[in-house]
């Protein structure tokens, strides 16, 4: 831009100075014609923008040249000017002629032309820039739309990537690819979930049969101590299998958001109820319970709320020691369950994953996964922290 400007400025200057020079040459010719005709020098004169002076000089001492000089306008007032030095011989006398022309008008002209041109160029640039932005924005709009959809895409949600209408082939293709990719992913995910659900479901009947056969078996009389020990172990194993299976089914249901009916639940009452229900389990381990419950109403699924609270409280019992302590706090912003126990800090990132459990745990390893999923469905957060001596699980509403 700058270079173009300079070149442009130089070109205009050059053309106009050339014009000036031509005018000076015309004047020179006029002087020569006058001298030839009248055989004497013309009068020296000052016009508005031309000054001609003659001075005697030694013969052949003057070379013809154009110069940039000052144009004497009025007393002590000079403007820039362009001059031509030439010579003429009149009656054997050699004269130096200086013709000076004011360059002010020329320079004004240059400045005006330059100004207008630069102005137009800048305006053009601005228009171009704005137009570019608008057009590019419009042009890339489908791309940004697709990108936005892909960013918020969630496998678990049953929301398709919407078809963006575009006449640009590349974007249409991109959209096509994104749609195919997501629908494939969703399809596979659905298959996997269906498989989990079906597998768990198919397991229910054999478990039910084993359970009922065991119940029937213990009705037959006379067992040795060894036999009854075996039966007790069988019972425990079947109970665990059945709970594990139920947890898997429940997890699929929560993930699929199949438990949708909402009720108004008084959390304070629910916690009290659960604590009353589990009273004898606490006293069996000599665990003391401290509660600080505020009245809090929420809208949610009663069944899921019970499971969530039950899981957290049972966990607090299971991982507690004899004569331990559980503190339950319910405020308007959250619910926390603190318990004493092993002094080892749990791994924050692992405890919520499926089938992660401590070596001693008798649980299914799905309790916290289910709890976390329930919280997510409710739009809550479930966090763990260890502040000695309490392991704390906090639900942030």
């Amino acid at each position: 831009m700058l270079i173009t400007g300079i070149i442009y400025y130089q070109a205009i200057s050059w053309i106009l100075i050339d014009q000036n020079d031509k005018a000076l040459m015309v004047e020179e010719n006029e002087i020569f014609d006058y001298v030839k005709l009248n055989n004497k020098l013309p009068q020296e004169f000052d016009s508005k923008d031309q000054q001609i002076t003659f001075t005697e000089a030694a013969p052949n001492s003057v070379t013809r040249e154009f110069i940039n000089t000052d144009y004497h306008k009025e007393k002590n007032e000079y403007e820039s000017g362009r001059g031509l030095i030439t010579s003429v011989t009149v009656n054997g006398k050699y004269y130096k002629i200086l013709i000076v022309e004011s360059k002010v008008e020329t320079e004004d002209l240059i400045q005006i032309i330059f100004g207008i041109t630069i102005g137009v160029i800048l305006l053009l640039l601005l228009v171009l820039l704005i137009a570019n932005r608008l057009i590019l924005n419009r042009l890339w709009q489908p791309f940004h739309a697709i990108l936005k959809e892909m960013k918020v895409f969630n496998l678990a949600e049953n929301k398709e990537i919407s078809q963006t209408t575009t006449r640009i082939d590349e974007f249409a293709e991109l959209n096509q690819a994104a749609t195919t990719l997501t629908s494939n992913a969703r399809h596979d995910y659905k298959d996997l979930k269906t498989f989990t659900e079906n597998a768990s479901h198919e397991l229910l009947t054999p478990i039910a049969v084993i359970n009922s056969k065991l119940d029937t078996l213990i009705q037959t009389e006379d067992f040795s101590e060894q036999q009854s020990k075996l039966l007790t172990d069988l019972y425990s194993a079947v109970a665990r299998l059945s709970r594990l299976n139920q947890s898997l089914l429940l997890l699929v249901k929560i993930e699929n958001r199949l438990l949708t009916d909402q009720q108004t639940i008084n959390l304070e009452e629910l916690v009290q109820e659960l604590l009353a229900q589990l009273e004898d389990i606490f006293s069996d381990k000599h665990i003391s319970i401290k509660t600080n419950l505020q009245n809090k109403q929420i809208s949610g699924n009663q069944y899921l709320m019970e499971i969530l609270l039950n899981n957290l409280i049972i966990n607090a019992v299971r991982h507690n020691h004899i004569n331990g302590e559980i503190i339950i706090e319910l405020t308007n912003d959250g619910l926390s369950v603190k318990n004493t126990g092993d002094t080892k800090v749990l791994q924050d990132d692992k405890i919520f994953t499926r089938f992660h459990k401590s070596d001693k745990s008798e649980g299914s390893g799905l309790g916290l996964t289910i709890s976390k999923q329930i919280c997510e469905n409710m739009g809550w957060q479930l966090n763990y922290q260890y502040i000695s001596p309490y392991h704390t699980f906090i639900i942030v509403f």
Partner: protein
């Protein structure tokens, strides 16, 4: 009492039949939808145990048929479909209770007994076992007209035992009955023992016989002997 067991899984059907037989109970069974429909249309039962998924049709439509005819048979749905919708559908259509597979036979028996008790409700709502009288409405227990103090869980446990009298009830079944199947503390049944000890002590002190017997360390039996 007269029962109809509609269940396609042979193993389960046989176990249930076996468990309910005796004490003057009559059990009939149906393995398919068609079989079940023909039995339900011909005979009346005190309680029908109804599986939802049957070969040839859905248990729900059998339930609808019963209600369309205004039959008053008690209906207990036993289903592998542990979905809340199914449960609500079943109960809204007039089923008396809903039990999810897998379940303990003792739990099933307790539920069926409760349904039949409600059907035979004769104003007093008393459950009498020899010298023990239980008022189900007021939730009180008395022995030889002497009222006893029972906690909520002890009360529930006593009714559970009486419904399963003469049967060995496993500790697992008791734990699930008292604390729900969400409870996951299979390693420790001490707290059951303390409840049982309390019930026995209270009954014996009031002059009742000792009906509760430990059965080989895996459960308890409530029996009149």
């Amino acid at each position: 009492m007269k029962l109809l067991i509609i269940e396609d899984e042979e193993g389960l059907r046989e176990s249930i039949e076996e468990y309910f037989k005796g004490e003057g109970n009559i059990c009939e069974t149906a393995a398919t939808y068609a079989d079940a429909v023909s039995k339900v249309e011909l005979y009346r039962y005190d309680c029908i145990l109804l599986d939802i998924t049957l070969p040839g049709g859905s248990g729900i439509s059998i339930l609808k048929k019963l209600k369309d005819h205004h039959y008053t048979d008690g209906v207990l749905i036993i289903s592998a479909k542990n979905s809340l919708d199914d449960r609500l559908d079943g109960l809204n259509l007039g089923a008396d209770d809903y039990l999810v597979k897998p379940f303990h036979l003792s739990e099933l028996k307790a539920r069926v007994s409760a349904i039949i008790r409600r059907k035979m409700y004769n104003g007093s709502n008393l459950l009498v076992f020899n010298e023990i009288t239980i008022d189900l409405q007021a939730k009180t227990v008395s022995v030889l007209d002497k009222p006893l103090k029972f906690t909520r869980k002890e009360f529930a446990l006593l009714i559970y035992f009486i419904a399963n009298k003469g049967k060995v009830v496993s500790k697992n079944a008791i734990a699930e009955h008292l604390w729900g199947d969400g409870i996951d503390l299979a390693d420790n049944f001490d707290f059951i023992y303390s409840h049982i000890k309390n019930i026995r002590k209270k009954l014996i002190e009031a002059g009742a016989n000792d009906y509760i017997h430990a059965a080989y360390g895996m459960g308890y039996k409530f029996a009149d002997q």
